[in-house]
């Protein structure tokens, strides 16, 4: 994870952790930027059917290592993910 390559021009990097990696079978992937944060989950659901309920709704989301609240689509409190940003999907790990 330390060596994620820079996203191509016009993209941001999306990092997957724990259960998100298990679901997508990816550690990261570049996605087209800019993208409204409120639309991120819908975008991922279109790519990975079922990921929203199984993973995203209970995950922590960060942009550039900072915790963000994902707003409901159309709520008006949106953040826009910019080109070159690093977004992470971090589902809770519970075992020990």
């Amino acid at each position: 994870m330390a060596s994620v390559p820079k996203p191509p021009k016009g993209h941001f990097n999306l990092l997957y952790f724990a259960g998100a990696t298990s679901f997508t079978h990816k550690d990261y992937e570049p996605l087209p930027a800019p993208l409204s944060l409120a639309k991120l989950f819908a975008e991922l659901e279109a790519r990975y059917t079922g990921i929203r309920a199984a993973v995203l709704d209970t995950s922590l989301v960060t942009i550039n290592l900072d915790y963000v609240d994902v707003p409901a689509d159309g709520s008006g409190h949106d953040v826009v993910i910019q080109e070159g940003d690093e977004v992470a999907i971090i589902p809770p790990v519970s075992s020990g």
């Binding site: 724990a18 992470a88 790990v93 020990g96």
Partner: protein
């Protein structure tokens, strides 16, 4: 030789070991008592006045054996005698004596934390030992909490240890957690994680929380500074959906991956104590106390050679203003204050809650941990014995050498993950891992045959042979049965699709006791 059976011998060895451990404990206590007595006698003999002039009398804040034992950390800047005295005065409760609790306990005991409690209601099993490094083969069957205390006492007899051989539940959480300065969450299920966090908010205790599964770990210091830092609910307000919740028993875990997280918990605990946890227990008393912003540390043990182990730290926010547990006017706080003032009743809690001081954690996290789902009707399920009969029929048909061997008369699909299938499977079963089926789900919306997913075995989409699904314990097999029917493979009910009740577990108990069941 002696006429004793192996069982007799095992029992006698176990008894002798318990007796030996008890004797060791008594010896440690007796030695400590003797030292104390000797010191007192010396002081009496010299008298207080003479003591100050007597260079050979002990006049240092730590005991002689403590200077020796803790020498390497005492000389560290940031620890010193004051830090060591804080460790000695501190008490830590380790919730869960498993893969996280064992390494954490080792370092806390080694560092000289004055009182270490362990709460765990489970007993040691052989499958724990690859990662729960403080338990031993000869303590299989003993309470984990007691086994961990035995380990710590052997490592360092100086601290005080308490083994609580019970599960942490709402009924005992406040009392247990209230007795300690700092709590380590080393548990293995979301429902207990929420309970531990809520109880720490209620009792005003910092919580060092860690978790690990497969090759991933997470670490966070919560409710720290007390009453200011986020709690577990602030970070993860909603529990993971039940079907995605996995324990180490189901998902597997790499020993060193969980070990790293437990060691990090001990590190955070020692840092907090040395910095002065006892001095910071008053919610309003430390405005000038500015620890680092709360973070969640992510650890990935890596996998293939190209993916080395790595850490990543993400910044969390403070408390959520709408947190269910720790917000200023949180619903849980209202429940607790109602309980504390003895006015706990249905009218106190807004929103028609039940009026009890704790939520139902098991229900909150989606139900019973080891639950069995029952998605299918009874006539869609067969027993292991029935499957055995069907397989025997198929086998004798094949051995008769009929020409129709190409078209099987039944399909047996084992939907466990490949690692489990490879360990041992029913003869004739085809492995299609559940995760692969779920990944391809999005392609399976259309009912046209050529749109059927590529994981279907050759021939299955066209022939009419019944399909039997088997998994580990009979949950995933029901899900896949539904999915195959939704794909139209049951040909409008003309073809049987069903699952084996109880899965490989039932097969092992009813048919073949030798098959490895993990």
């Amino acid at each position: 030789m002696s006429g004793l059976t192996t069982n007799d011998l095992r029992r006698r060895i176990a008894c002798a070991e318990v007796e030996l451990q008890n004797l060791r404990i008594l010896l440690t206590q007796a030695e400590a008592g003797e030292r104390e007595k000797q010191l007192n006698e010396e002081q009496h003999a010299h008298g207080d006045e003479k003591l100050t002039q007597n260079d050979s009398a002990w006049k240092w804040p730590l005991r002689v054996e403590e200077y020796e034992r803790y020498a390497r950390q005492l000389i560290l800047p940031g620890v010193g005698v004051q830090g060591q005295l804080r460790l000695k005065a501190a008490s830590v409760l380790i919730v869960g004596a498993g893969g996280l609790g064992c390494p954490a306990a080792a370092y806390l005991a080694g560092a000289g934390v004055g009182h270490i409690g362990v709460v765990d209601g489970d007993v040691v099993e052989a499958s724990n030992l690859h990662r729960q490094i403080s338990h031993t083969t000869d303590r299989v069957g003993h309470f984990k909490a007691e086994s961990l205390v035995v380990f710590m006492r052997q490592l360092n007899p100086l601290p005080r240890y308490s083994a609580h051989t019970e599960l942490l539940v709402p009924g005992n959480a406040t009392a247990l957690i209230g007795n300690y300065d700092l709590i380590l969450d080393c548990t293995d299920h979301p429902s207990v994680r929420y309970l531990v966090s809520d109880a720490c908010v209620r009792a005003g205790k910092p919580l060092v929380s860690a978790a690990a599964l497969r090759t991933d770990g997470q670490l966070a210091v919560l409710n720290w500074p007390i009453g200011k830092g986020p709690c577990y609910r602030c970070v993860f307000p909603r529990p993971p959906p039940p079907l995605s919740q996995m324990s180490c028993a189901e998902g597997g875990v790499l020993g060193p991956a969980v070990g790293v997280m437990g060691v990090l918990q001990a590190l955070e605990a020692i840092r907090i104590i040395v910095a002065g946890v006892q001095a910071n227990t008053n919610e309003d008393a430390h405005d000038d106390f500015a620890p680092q912003a709360p973070t969640l540390l992510l650890f990935s043990a890596g996998g293939a050679a190209l993916k080395p182990p790595s850490f990543r730290s993400v910044r969390l926010r403070g408390r959520r203003p709408d947190c269910f547990a720790c917000a200023v006017n949180a619903p849980l706080r209202r429940m607790w204050s109602a309980e504390d003032t003895g006015s706990s009743n249905k009218n106190v809690v807004a929103g028609g809650e039940t009026g009890v001081a704790w939520p139902d954690y098991v229900q909150f996290c989606g139900g019973d941990f080891d639950r069995n789902i029952s998605e299918l009707q009874p006539d869609e399920r067969i027993s292991a014995t029935e499957l055995k009969r069907l397989l025997q029929e198929e086998y004798s048909r094949k051995s008769e050498g009929t020409t129709a061997t190409d078209t099987p008369r039944l399909w047996l699909l084992d939907v466990r993950e490949k690692e489990l299938f490879d360990m041992g499977a029913i003869n004739g079963a085809v492995n299609i891992p559940f995760s692969r089926i779920q990944r391809c789900q999005k392609k399976t919306q259309s009912k046209e045959l050529d749109a059927l997913p590529d994981w279907l075995p050759e021939g299955m989409r066209t022939d009419m042979a019944p399909i039997y699904l088997v998994c580990r314990i009979g949950n995933d097999s029901q899900v896949v049965t539904r999915q195959l029917k939704e794909l139209g493979l049951d040909k409008e009910g003309k073809r049987f699709i069903g699952d084996v009740k109880g899965g490989i577990r039932a097969w092992k108990s009813d048919i073949d006791s030798t098959i490895p069941f993990l």
